[in-house]
C-alpha cells in the first residue's frame, strides 16, 4: 500500500529517489515509526523531503493519501490507561489465531474496532475479542495477532494528519514570492567560470611546481596556470513605472540582492518607465536629468552581457506599439517601444523578463495584451524563487 504513496509523491512533483525510498523501508523495518502514523509522518518527511520548501507540498500529499486511514476515533482516556498497563501474554494456539485472522483487511479491522469502541466499557486482557493487552484479538497493545493493529503504545501524541493539516510550512513554498536573501541565493547560481583555455597564466600551481622541481633535481622550476574567475556580465533593467508600485518592496529587495552580488565580472543597472525607448534612466526616480542613451548601451555593452528585465510588462497598447506612445509629452519617442525590445533581444541572446504578476493573469488580467506581445519576444518568468531559478537557468544554457 505504501508504494502508492511513493508514486503519489513523485506524481505531485517531489522527486523521491529509489534509494531514499529503500532507506524509508529500512527505517520501518527497524521499527522507527513505532506503528504510529504520526511517527511515520515525521520519519518519511525526514528521509524523503530535503527542502523546507517542499514541506507544504508534502503535508498536502500526506493528507490526501492518508485521509481515509485516520477515521478511527480518538480513544477514551480510561481505555488508553488500560492499554498502557500491559499484562503478560496469555498462552495461545498460534495456528488457531492465524487461521482466524487470515482474511482480515484493514477496513474490516477498522470497522470492528469502531464497534468495539461502542460496546466496550471495561478492561479486558488476554482474550481474543476485546481491545486489550496480551491477547490475540486483532487490536490491542502487546499481544499476538498476525494481521492486527496496535492501539496505543509509544508515539501518537500529535496525530499525523492533524499535523499535516496544519500546514505550518506554507511560507516556505518555492512558488511564493521572495525576499532579498532568497534573491541573493538565486543570483549566486549565475556564474560561469572562464575555462582553462583562455586568460593569462598568472597563478602559481604549487603542486606542479614541486613536482617539476623534484623532477628537475631540486632546482626550482615554476609552473603557472590560469585562474578560474566568473565571467558573467549582467545588465539589469528595472521598470519603475506607476503600475509597479504594488511590487515596490519586492523590487527593492531584488535590487539590493543584485547590487550585493559582487561575483559578477560586470554589473549595470538601469531603469525605465513602463517600456524602454530612446533613453534609460540611471536612477529609480526616472528623472530626465539622469538619463543615458539606449543606443549607447547597445553599442557599448557587448553581446556577452546577460540581460534581466524586471517589469510588469503591463501598459497601454499604444505605449508599446506606437511611435510617440510613451506618456512623456516633451519627449515623444520616434520608435515604438516594441522595436527597442526587439533590438535588445537581437543583440543580447541571453535575455529574460521577470514579471511580478503571477502567470495565471498573463492571458486575462490587466495589461495582458502587452504581456502577450512582449512574451513572444523575450522569455518571461514569474518573479518567484522558482521563476527566477528557471530564468537564470535560461541565461546560462548554451544554445
Amino acid at each position: 500500500m505504501f508504494t502508492d504513496f511513493f508514486y503519489l509523491l513523485r506524481k505531485r512533483g517531489i522527486k523521491v529517489s529509489l534509494n531514499e525510498w529503500m532507506m524509508l523501508i529500512e527505517a520501518m523495518d527497524k521499527g522507527l515509526c513505532r506503528s504510529s502514523l504520526t511517527e511515520f509522518y515525521y520519519l518519511s518527511r525526514a528521509i524523503l523531503i530535503k527542502s523546507e520548501a517542499d514541506f507544504d507540498k508534502y503535508d498536502l500529499i500526506f493528507s490526501e493519501f492518508f485521509k481515509g486511514i485516520e477515521s478511527i476515533k480518538e480513544l477514551p482516556q480510561d481505555l488508553r490507561d488500560w492499554l498502557n498497563d500491559i499484562q503478560p501474554q496469555q498462552e495461545y494456539d498460534k495456528e488457531e489465531v492465524d487461521r482466524r485472522n487470515k482474511d482480515m483487511t484493514l477496513e474490516k479491522i477498522q470497522k470492528m474496532m469502531e464497534e468495539r469502541l461502542e460496546e466496550q466499557k471495561e478492561r479486558h486482557d488476554g482474550g481474543s475479542y476485546w481491545i486489550g493487552t496480551g491477547g490475540t484479538s486483532v487490536f490491542g497493545n502487546s499481544g499476538y495477532n498476525p494481521t492486527g493493529i496496535r492501539v496505543e503504545g509509544e508515539g501518537g501524541s500529535r496525530r499525523a494528519l492533524k499535523v499535516a493539516g496544519e500546514r505550518n510550512f506554507r511560507d516556505f513554498r518555492e512558488d511564493r514570492t521572495l525576499n532579498e536573501r532568497q534573491f541573493q541565493l538565486a543570483f549566486r547560481r549565475l556564474r560561469q567560470f572562464t575555462t582553462r583555455q583562455d586568460g593569462p597564466k598568472d597563478t602559481l600551481d604549487l603542486e606542479q611546481t614541486i613536482q617539476q622541481t623534484c623532477n628537475n633535481g631540486g632546482n626550482l622550476k615554476i609552473v603557472l596556470e590560469r585562474p578560474r574567475i566568473n565571467s558573467v556580465k549582467l545588465l539589469v533593467l528595472f521598470d519603475s513605472g506607476g503600475s509597479m508600485w504594488p511590487y515596490t518592496t519586492m523590487c527593492n529587495s531584488l535590487f539590493q540582492a543584485v547590487s550585493k552580488s559582487n561575483h559578477f565580472k560586470d554589473l549595470k543597472v538601469y531603469y525605465f518607465h513602463n517600456c524602454f525607448y530612446e533613453s534609460l534612466y540611471t536612477d529609480p526616480g526616472c528623472s530626465y536629468s539622469n538619463t543615458i542613451e539606449t543606443e549607447w548601451v547597445l553599442k557599448n555593452l557587448d553581446e556577452e552581457y546577460k540581460v534581466i528585465v524586471v517589469g510588469d510588462a503591463s501598459m497601454e497598447i499604444s505605449e508599446l506599439t506606437y511611435p510617440g506612445g510613451a506618456n512623456f509629452y516633451n519627449h515623444p519617442n520616434e520608435r515604438p517601444g516594441i522595436e527597442w525590445i526587439e533590438r535588445f533581444k537581437a543583440k543580447y541572446d541571453k535575455m529574460i523578463w521577470m514579471n511580478p504578476i503571477s502567470e495565471q493573469n498573463w492571458d486575462s488580467g490587466y495589461g495582458y495584451q502587452t504581456i502577450q506581445l512582449i512574451k513572444r519576444i523575450v522569455p518571461m518568468y514569474h518573479l518567484t524563487v522558482k521563476g527566477l531559478e528557471e530564468g537564470l537557468k535560461n541565461l546560462l544554457v548554451r544554445k
Binding site: L32, A46, K50, F172, L185
Partner: protein, 277 residues
C-alpha cells in the same frame, strides 16, 4: 542503541529529537537547516553531552576543499626535508596528515562528527564527499592505504541555506529543518540560560522581540543569541519591565544595523502596529 533525549542546557523540540534518532538508527548523516541563531551548531554539542561521545568539529570555510577533510599530503615539507637529506623522506606516510573526516574515521570509539556550515564551501564540495560519507572510507593513493571507519560516526551537517546543496548529496541525508522557535519554545530556551528571571520582564521582552521580528522592513532579524544578550543587558541595568515594550532600551544589542534601528525607532512610535500598503 543510544538514544538522544536532549540535554540540560539545550532545549530540543520533539521533532528534532526524532530526526536525530532516525539518523543515528539509520547511520546516515543528519542535515540540519535553519535560520541563523536557531541553535544548529549547539545541537551537536548537546548530542555529545547526552550520549557522552567525543565531538570532532570540521568548520567549513569558503576555501575549504573536500580533500582537506580527508587528508593533507605535505609535499612542501617533504621537499624541504629532501633538500637537506633528512631521515625518513622515503616514508610518505610521515607527510600524510589526516583531516577532520579522516580523524573521525580513525577512532576506535564512535564519535560525533560535526560538519559545520557546509554551504559556505564551493558548490561542488558536497559532491566530492558522497562516497566518503556513504561508505565511510577513503583511499590514500600516496601510501596505498584505505582509511575505513571502524564504527560509523554520527555525522551532523549544518547549513544556512546560502547555497543550494546538490541532489545526489541530499538523497543520502536525513533532513531536518529547524524553524524559528515560537514564543513558548523561546520562553523555555531563555529559562535554560537564566535562573529565576522575572516573569514580567520575560513576557515583555518576548513580546517586544516578536514584534520586532514581525516588522517586514527589518533587514537582519534578531535571533536567539541576541535576545539572550538583551535580557542580560536589561537585567544588569535593572530596567523597569513596564518600559521595555514602550521604549525598547538597548535596542543596539538586538539590532546590528543602523537602518534597522531607525526602522524600529519609527515602529515603536506607532506601537508596533503592522503597516500595510
Amino acid at each position: 542503541m543510544s538514544e538522544f533525549k536532549g540535554s540540560n542546557n539545550y532545549v530540543v523540540s520533539e521533532e528534532l529529537m526524532r530526526s536525530v534518532n532516525i539518523a543515528i538508527a539509520l547511520q546516515k548523516p543528519l542535515l540540519i537547516k535553519g535560520e541563523p541563531g536557531t541553535g544548529k551548531t549547539m545541537l551537536a554539542q548537546a548530542i555529545q553531552e547526552a550520549l557522552g561521545k567525543e565531538l570532532i568539529i570540521w568548520n567549513i570555510k569558503s576555501t575549504t576543499k573536500a580533500q582537506d577533510g580527508l587528508y593533507v599530503y605535505d609535499t612542501v615539507q617533504r621537499l624541504y626535508d629532501s633538500q637537506f637529506g633528512n631521515e625518513g623522506v622515503d616514508d610518505i606516510g610521515k607527510y600524510i596528515k589526516l583531516g577532520k573526516l579522516g580523524e573521525a574515521f580513525d577512532q576506535d570509539k564512535q564519535v560525533i562528527l560535526l560538519i559545520d556550515e557546509i554551504d559556505k564551501a564551493d558548490l561542488e564540495f558536497p559532491n566530492d564527499l558522497l562516497w566518503e560519507l556513504d561508505k565511510m572510507e577513503f583511499y590514500i593513493p600516496e601510501t596505498q592505504q584505505t582509511v575505513k571507519a571502524k564504527i560509523r560516526p554520527i555525522v551532523i551537517i549544518t547549513s544556512n541555506a546560502e547555497k543550494e546543496l546538490p541532489d545526489a548529496f541530499l538523497r543520502r541525508c536525513i533532513f531536518h529543518y529547524i524553524s524559528f522557535p515560537d514564543k513558548e519554545m523561546m520562553e523555555e530556551i531563555v529559562k535554560v540560560h537564566f535562573d529565576n528571571l522575572d516573569e514580567k520582564l520575560l513576557e515583555q521582552v518576548l513580546e517586544t522581540f516578536y514584534a520586532i521580528r514581525n516588522i517586514k522592513e527589518v533587514h537582519k532579524k534578531p535571533s536567539t543569541s541576541e535576545v539572550i544578550d538583551w535580557i542580560q543587558a536589561l537585567e544588569i541595568a535593572g530596567i523597569d519591565p513596564e518600559k521595555i515594550y514602550k521604549e525598547v532600551p538597548f535596542a543596539g544589542v538586538l539590532l546590528k544595523k543602523t537602518e534597522d534601528l531607525a526602522i524600529v525607532e519609527k515602529a515603536k512610535e506607532k506601537k508596533f502596529q503592522v503597516t500595510r500598503w
